[in-house]
Amino acid sequence: MPTLTIDGKKITVADGTTVLQACEKLKIDVPRYCYHPGLSIAGNCRICMVEIEKAPKPAISCQTLSTEGMVVRTDTEQVKQVRSHILEFLLVNHPLDCPVCDQAGECYLQDYYMKFGLYDPKFNENKVKKQKKAFPIGPTIMLDQERCILCSRCVRFTDEITKSHEFGIVNRGDHSEVVVSKEFVNPYSGNVADICPVGALTDRDFRFKCRVWYLENSPSVCPGCSRGCSIEIHHNDRKSHRVEPKRVMRLKPRFNEEINKWWICDEGRYNYKFIDDNRILLVKGAEDWPSAVKTLASKLKNLAALSPQSAAFLLSPQQSNEELFLAEQIFAQLFDRSRLFLVRPNALGYQDAFLIKADKNPNTAGARALGFSYAENIVDLLSGEAEKGKLKALYIFGQDIVSLFGDDARKLLKQLEFVVYQGSNRNETAPLCSMTLPAAVYAEQEGTFTNCDGILQRFTPAFAPLPEAREGIQILHDLAVKLGIKCPGPKAREIFARMAEKAHAFKGMNFDRLGRMAQEKAALC
C-alpha cells in the first residue's frame, strides 16, 4: 500500500496501481490515448507524461507503478510543454478534416488540443496520404488510416477481449498503419469504434447520421438479452420534424463493473431501430384512451362475473418488474392467478461466454422472482379451452403469437370474443386483435429489470412516449382505477415500494438506491 504525493496531495493506493490510476482517484485529469482501463497497458502514445521527483526526465504515468514516497507533479511548465510537443507529434500526419469527421465533438485529439495543445505548428512537410481515405473493414466499422494515431487500443481489444486477433499494426516509422487481417466480423466489433480515441475507426451505422453535439445522453438498460448491459441512449431531440423524425441515433455501452464493464455486443448496440420504426401509433377498437380503458374495464368485469377462468393474460419477460407486479395485482383479483401465463416472445438465440445470453429477454429472472414461469404450448392449451367455450378473452402483452405459433394462433384469435393487444410495435398479431393499445418502449418509461445474475437495474425514460403511446404501468393503473381495484401507481417508484413490501424477492429494496444511475460515468475512453 504505497503512499505517494501528487501535486501536493497525499494518497495511499493499492499495490500495483499505476500513477495514472492514482491521479484518476484524485480527480486529476491526465491526458491519455493508448491507456484504457479495460485493456493491457501499451504506453505508446506518451501523452500521459508526468514529472516524478528524482527521475531524470518526465515519465509516462500509465505504466509507472506507484511506489512509496513518490512525488509526482502533473502541472509544471515542463509537463505542459511535453504534452504539447507530444500532441504535435501525434498530429503530424492527422488530416484536418474535422468538419467531415464523425468523431468531431467527442474526439480526444480535439479535446486535448484545446486543453493541452494550442501550440504554433512548426510542421512544414506534407502529411502522409494513404491510398484510400475511409473504407469499410467489416459490416459495422469504417477505417480511416490517415486519422489513426497508432494507440493500438483496437489491436489490444481484439487480442485480449474478443481474442479474435483481427487488428495489427504493420510497417515502421511514418509508414506504420493499422490493418485488419480479414473482414472484421465479430459480435463485439462495435466496441472498437467506442475505444478509438480519434476518428480512425467509426461506426458505419452511425456514419453521417448526426453530429454528436446534437445528442442527448440518457442512461438505460439494454433489453436485448438477459444480460441487461448498462447502456447510454444517444438521442437527438433537436432535429427538426422536417428531416427524418428519428429520435434514437445510437446506443453506447455504459461502464458497469458487475455486468458489462466497458463493452456491449453488436446485437444490443444496433437493437434500437424498433424505438422509432414501425410503432403502433393509435388506439384501435375504441375512440380514444379513456373510452378504450372504459370498454376494457367493463369487458373484464363482465367476464370475471361469468367465470374466473374466462380470460387469459399472456405476460412477457420484456415487461418491467413493476408492470408484471401490477398486472398480477390487478388480474389475479378478478381471475384465477393461474390465468396469468408468462410467454416467451422470441426463440432462444446465440450465446457466448462473454456477454451474449441465449435468452433474449431482459427480465426473465424478474418474472421468475415474481412467481411466474414459462408456459409451454400455450396456444394449444388456450385453443382447447376456447373450443370448449371456457375461454372468452385474451390479453396479450406484446407477444407476436401469430409469428410464433402460426395458424394455430390465428385460429385461436378468431375463436375468441375479445382480444386485447398491448404493445409498442406493429406485427402480425396486432391487426387480428379486437383492441390495440399503443404502449411505450423501454426508452420511454421507467422501471426495473432483473438480469440473468439477479442484478436489479433501474432504467429511466430517455424521452417522452410517442403522442398516443402510454407507459405499460400507466395503462394498467388506469385500468385498475376504472375497475375499482386499489393498486399503487402510476409511478414506478410507488409500485416498486409496494412490490418491496409484498414480493419476497424484492424484500427491503429501495427504488432510489437502485441501479447505477447516480454512479459516476466511468471513462468510456
Binding site: P99, V100, C101, A134, W213, R242
Partner: protein, 190 residues
Amino acid sequence: MPVTTKVVKQPNMSFMVRIYFPAIFQGLALTGWHFFRNLTLHILHKFDLFKDVPAAVTYQYPEEKRPLAPRLRSRHRLTKRSNGSPRCVACMMCETVCPAHCIYIVADEHPDPNIEKRPKRFDIDLGICVYCGFCVEACPEDAIRMDTQILDIAAYSREGMYLTMDDLLNPENHGAIVLRDPKRPQPASQ
C-alpha cells in the same frame, strides 16, 4: 438605490413660436413649393423636357431595383465546385450555429472515395430564417453565401418559403435579379 431626479428644462418658446401660425405658413410654403415644383416637372417630363431633373426620388420597385450594398445579407445560395457539384461537405456547422434552426442537412457518402461527405439534402426554411449570416461565418468551405441580392421573397404558403438544395444551388432560377454593380464579384463558379 437613492432616488435621483433630473430637471428637464422646458424649451423657452418665443411668442412667434407660441402663436404657431408662422410655423404653419412656413410648413405650407415648403410643402406647397414642393408641390408646384414637382407638378411642373411632372408635366414637363411628359413633354420630354428637363428629364434630368427628377420629380420623384422613389424607385419604381418591381421594374427598377434599388442599388444594394455588396455586403448586404440577402437570400442564401450554395456555391459550386468546378464540376457543378456543391462545395458543401455537410459538416453541419451552419446547421449547428443557426440560431433560428432553419437549416436542415442530411449527409451522405460521396461517390468519390477520396471525398468523404456530401449533402444529400440541404434545405433552408426562409420562413424561419432571421438572416443573421452566422451560417456564412461558420462555413469552413465557403459553401454558403448570402450574396444573391434577392430580397423579394414571398410565397403563398409556408412550404413556398422552403428552399431545397436545388433552389440554393441555382438562385438565378428564382425571380429576375439584376445585379446593378458590374464590379461586384459574380456568382462564383470557379
